[in-house]
């Protein structure tokens, strides 16, 4: 397994077959955490003699779902709530269990999800400690009464999401005219953090497992209405490829993966160590004594 961010392609070097059975192409979404989890999936499968190809950092959900549908990839780590919302906007599932239970019906034919992990990583709205204190804001529900203009930073596609600016308006009654959206194409990464710190934005959508939230003492705003659905990590897979071995392996992975693990892995990836997803996945598997 060499490729990292390689498209599943005829040019892909070094994807030599190992073991029998079909090849599974593991994809990842266009941000680092997804790639780390995908690497864990891939390495776990390989350790069990499944032939794996890797296609990292494909893009956002709309893109990788298309990739799944057209067969460019077979397996990708996903997040339960957003996945459900993607296929069923009107679902009223709220809790983690409800969401997971609703998924099989929502998914198009030919795809299924395997067991979900305890690990969760969801969009979260964050403000600086100072902003929180001076405006008395700790929850999304407090935003409606605020007379400060809200400058929301997040990935460009947040603008289109139900939990994006329009969700703030519809669910929490924030005046749409009072919200300004700043697209930052780093998936809630360091630039978003920087933008929040230097005041370019005053609310930032950052994934909940991002280490910078703790490091900077950001205040994650509560979401009493559960506008942002639970987002447990789970494998989304093409049913044809979901052999018993594959299911067993991936379920074993999910059983071990925790939110703390994600925070730690992300920290090692983005912090000073700059460890590669490949190395992180190997470390995690070793640490959990899996395969």
């Amino acid at each position: 397994l060499t490729g990292c961010g390689a498209g599943g392609d005829p040019l892909e070097p070094g994807s030599e077959p190992s073991g029998d059975g079909e090849t599974i192409i593991v994809g990842s979404a266009g941000f680092a955490e997804s790639e780390i989890i995908a690497q864990i999936f891939a390495q776990a499968l390989e350790a069990n003699d499944v032939t794996v190809e890797f296609a990292g950092q494909i893009g956002q959900r709309d893109v990788y779902i298309t990739a799944l549908e057209d067969g460019s990839i077979d397996l990708i780590p996903d997040y339960s709530g957003n996945l459900l919302q993607f296929f069923d906007e009107d679902s009223d599932a709220k809790s983690s269990e409800e969401v997971f239970a609703a998924l099989p019906d929502a998914l198009p034919d030919g795809f299924e999800v395997l067991d979900q992990a305890e690990a969760e990583d969801k969009d979260s709205y964050n403000v600086t400690q100072e902003f929180s204190e001076s405006n008395g804001v700790t929850s999304l529900a407090d935003l409606a009464n605020l007379d400060v203009p809200l400058i929301v930073g997040g990935n460009p596609e947040l603008a289109e999401r139900p939990y994006g600016p329009q969700g703030l308006t519809e669910v929490y009654g924030v005046d749409a005219a009072n919200i300004q959206f700043v697209p930052i194409s780093d998936s809630g990464g360091p630039l978003t953090t920087a933008a929040l710190l230097d005041g370019t934005v005053n609310i930032a959508d950052i994934f909940s497992t991002t280490p910078s939230i703790k490091e900077n003492n950001f205040v994650t705003l509560e979401d009493p209405e559960n506008m942002i659905l639970p987002q447990n990590v789970l494998p989304l897979i093409n049913s044809e490829k979901a052999s018993d071995t594959v299911k067993e392996v991936l379920n074993a992975v999910s059983a071990e993966l925790t939110t703390e693990d994600l925070i730690e892995l992300n920290g090692r990836n983005q912090g000073d160590e700059k460890a590669s997803p490949e190395a992180l996945a190997a470390d995690w598997l070793a640490e959990k004594d899996l395969f």
Binding site: C4, G7, D9, A55, Q57, V63, S72, K274, S276
Partner: protein, 228 residues
């Protein structure tokens, strides 16, 4: 530097992918542009149309073209063909003009005299016009090669492996070293390609080095291609 050494394997594999994505557009673009350029050189009518179309193609933002490819070609969205075809189109757009100039630059005296001593049409093309167009074609190919290698990095935005991955990934991680590595790698590939082309040119066109007219033509062609 430590990061580079620690990740050398990944960087190398990205480099290989980058090269594999760069070579087909350069080669195919060249091979298609030469006959098109010849047509434009030979027939006045086709010239205007061909050159205008090529000019137009060049104004389409590359990202948009890559994204539109699966719809246009019916390919899967992660198919490297999407990127390769896009870059081939740019290569052709850039190369056709140079190829036209290359055939235009072949001295009329020489082709006339070749005809006069008894070269038939087909033979004249292969043995006289094509080799004499060589230095200018090479100049154009060098420009195409450089720009293609640089454009392959855009593939990273649509999930294509290559050194561009280091840009998006480094950007997300706020990691300048990684991005710099990608930049240096891309420039190195471009330089290596260029050196290979120059050496190929010396082997295939030994006369061009001593021929001042050929060198002047090649120089003009480079300028024209750069300012195309």
């Amino acid at each position: 530097m430590t990061w580079v050494l620690a990740n050398i394997e990944q960087i190398w594999s990205l480099t290989l992918d980058h090269i594999l994505l760069s070579v087909p557009p350069i080669l195919v673009g060249f091979l298609l542009a030469v006959p098109i350029g010849w047509l434009a050189h030979r027939y006045r009518v086709s010239r205007g149309v061909l050159l205008t179309v090529c000019g137009l193609l060049y104004t389409i933002p590359s990202l948009a073209l890559i994204v539109a490819m699966p719809t246009l070609l019916g390919t899967k969205i992660l198919n490297p063909a999407n990127l390769i075809v896009t870059l081939t189109i740019y290569a052709i757009a850039l190369m056709v003009r140079t190829a036209t100039d290359a055939f235009d630059a072949v001295s009329k005296d020489v082709t006339q005299s070749a005809t006069a001593v008894g070269f038939g049409g087909w033979r004249r093309f292969w043995q006289v016009e094509l080799p004499l167009a060589g230095p200018v074609l090479l100049a154009g190919l060098r420009v195409v090669s450089t720009s293609t290698v640089s454009l392959v990095t855009l593939g990273a935005l649509v999930g294509m492996s290559g050194l561009g991955y280091l840009f998006t990934n480094g950007y997300q991680r706020n990691f300048a070293t990684e991005i710099l590595t990608g930049i240096v790698g891309t420039v190195l590939i471009a330089i290596v390609f260029d050196v290979v082309l120059v050496i190929l040119g010396r082997m295939l066109l030994p006369w061009a080095r001593v021929d001042t007219a050929a060198r002047r033509n090649a120089k003009t062609a480079t300028t024209k291609a750069v300012t195309a």
